[in-house]
Symmetry: C2
Subunit: 201 residues, 2 copies
């Protein structure tokens, strides 16, 4: 298809499509002459992914670029490519060297401790926040969230087994970012239902 | 205690304490003369709450004020006061009238549909985001998150039964805001562990 058709198929202005090409985020089409190029399904899919990351997930362009790099050059270890892409998602935490709280939690739950994975520093910062606010933080509290998230993760990760690495990275990033607000809204609604019904919900 | 001791006890500069008093967020102390006042444990606790909401949860001052109003004037129905306070937490979603996706999800899970509760519009927006990105959205996907969040909510809500309404509002707001990033980091770590271990984590 021509660029005008690509624009219609994705709902993005031609100028925006050209911008992503210039920025190296969208591959050039196959040249059909000096001023015309042919675009395919892969271009439509790439633009949909960029749109979901910028408009739905609200990521800044620099972070989207990091994610596209992990998709386009995943390297030999899929879980590492996924880890790099997930690292482009908020919250953006400055690790300050002490990750002891996260390490203890990861050990207790039998998860994987790898400092390159940004969720380690995110977890450490989150635990410090809980402690700073004077909220309970103990083994039972950790188990409450750990058990729920392990259960959720089983179904979330299952489809990845049948995907190519680029597709797995895209799915992991979108799924991580976009089911998150669903889960958090449901948590608040579950609280409310229990309080309204006195514990029977 | 005097204002200088209150400052030391909370780690906040005297000027900041005075600012919160001027803004009506911290009650004045009991006057001991023209220029001195006595502050008590309730002042320390209020400043800790303000600190947790502004510095740990990162809320803007206007939202903290809404939460303090729900604590100070909870009204006759505790769950309504909690709902108003929770409504001051992000994400800030503009409801556009169509809440049909949230209503269907709430019905399926047997939760409570009340449009005043901001999590309803948050859920609807979150589901639209999932759909816009082309991710799966069906009854099984909803159950995955609904079951996990109902389970988590049981333990989270339990302590509220023994609290005064103001304490329950403060606990609900802090717990909602500050366990959230713990849970989300654990979700990412649970994904990673399953991928690293090929499904055995």
């Amino acid at each position: 298809m021509q660029i005008s058709e690509l624009s219609r198929a994705t709902g993005l202005p031609v100028a925006t499509v050209k911008f992503y090409i210039r920025e190296g985020m969208l591959p050039r089409g196959t040249a059909l002459g000096a001023t015309r190029a042919d675009y395919g399904v892969s271009h439509v899919e790439r633009l949909r992914l960029i749109g979901a990351l910028t408009q739905v997930a609200g990521l800044p362009l620099a972070r989207v670029r990091d994610i596209l790099a992990a998709i386009d050059e995943p390297g030999p270890v899929p879980v590492d490519a996924i880890g790099r892409a997930i690292g482009a998602l908020p919250p953006y935490v400055e690790p300050d060297g002490d990750l002891s709280r996260a390490r203890a939690a990861i050990d207790q739950l039998g998860l994987v401790y790898d400092e390159r994975f940004t969720a380690v520093a995110q977890l450490d910062a989150a635990i410090r926040g809980v402690e700073a606010a004077g909220l309970p933080w103990d083994g039972a509290t950790l188990d409450r969230y750990g058990a729920a998230m392990k259960q959720v993760a089983i179904d979330e990760v299952a489809p990845v087994a049948d995907m190519t690495t680029p597709d797995a990275v895209a799915y992991a990033v979108l799924g991580t970012a976009l089911y998150e607000p669903v889960m958090l809204a449901l948590r608040r609604l579950a609280h409310q239902a229990r309080m309204v019904r006195g514990g029977s919900a």
